[in-house]
């Protein structure tokens, strides 16, 4: 399956979409929407929130399409927009207030919202473990391990230090390890 940052669209299609041609816009939407939504859902977690972020992202895509300078594949440019919108959502004070009102951090409930049908069992476990992570740790883990961002790039995206990125990644791995390891082989003296 092609990752979002690898997706390209033909130039003439892009030009026609910029000119407002409906069919061209529809074709671009069909090309990038699945991978875009997949990325956003993995970072944001909740499907309903991911749909809002996805809608914003796609609207920005079509608004700013004339500004695209073809220095990278369109998917890579769109990925920047999507990640930026996701992080804005995670930083949103309203999201934090909602989580406080709901009690707890609400992350544990995310696993059930993910579509895990038709996946091998080991990937279902990973999907669930990923969904059970705190949102920030999940975003850092995904950006570093899958999207190929460096710690410096993640730190810049979050407006934090490189150490923040490293510690979040380490924390995510510790939690994933605890989740994925068989019960019998877990260490008996874990601090976390």
């Amino acid at each position: 399956m092609t990752r979002l940052f690898e997706i390209t669209v033909p130039d003439d299609l892009r030009v026609r979409a910029c000119a407002g041609e409906e069919g061209a816009r529809q074709a671009i939407y069909a090309a990038v929407a699945p991978a875009t939504f997949s990325l956003i859902r993995r970072i944001v977690g909740q499907t309903s929130a991911a749909e809002d972020v996805f809608q914003d992202t796609m609207m920005i895509l079509f608004e700013r399409l004339p500004e695209f300078r073809r220095e990278a594949p369109l998917g890579a440019w769109l990925r920047q927009i999507a990640v930026s919108r996701c992080l804005m959502h995670l930083r949103s004070p309203w999201r934090r207030v909602r989580l406080c009102l709901e009690g707890g951090d609400g992350e544990g409930a995310l696993a059930s919202t993910l579509v895990t049908a038709a996946l091998p069992p080991e990937l279902i476990d990973v999907e669930r473990a990923l969904a059970a992570l705190p949102a920030t740790a999940r975003a850092v883990l995904w950006m570093y391990e899958v999207e190929g961002y460096s710690h410096a790039e993640i730190a810049e995206a979050f407006g934090r230090s490189v150490s923040f990125s490293k510690s979040q990644l380490a924390r995510a791995h510790v939690k994933l390890r605890a989740w994925l390891e068989p019960q019998g082989s877990r260490p008996t003296c874990l601090l976390s």
């Binding site: 092609t2 809608q55 909602r98 883990l141 899958v146 230090s161 390890r177």
Partner: protein, 176 residues
Amino acid sequence: MPLELEHEPVVARLLRELPAGGASPYDFGEFQRRARMPPAGAARMASARALVATAVIAVAVCATATRLGPVERPLPPHPATAAVQPGEETVSRNEDVYMERWLSSLPREPALVHVGTRSAVETLEDDIAQVDDLVSAARAGRTPAAGVQPLLAERAQLVNSLVQVRYAETLADASR
């Protein structure tokens, strides 16, 4: 520990094997329909604001009522003060009265607030990671041991604080 050494590449590989595509949440027609509507986020945010404002006001009212206790009647005027002609009230007497009223309004027991440790733990872990970076940078730059020593001392203090927080967590869990 081979398990730890192998864990990260294995997890990274599994994460990359997760499907990158799948289905769009909705088709282009639905996208356009939503694009013409006022932003869903704005509507949700407006209702969230109303909810939060209501919750904050309710909490504030409850907290004020709890702290102040039942509404008090105004204190009767002190005979000495009552006898004084208007305009000749002594300021010190009024201050005494208000001070007594304020003291009687204070709760007998201090308010207890339970605060989660998650924020403290994350801050300490971030700080430790930052000090680790500085230590690594100092060692890579061949800084004399005397220069690294304060960083190591700082790290030891941070780790000690983290252990204390974790210990407090464990005690709190055990007492529940």
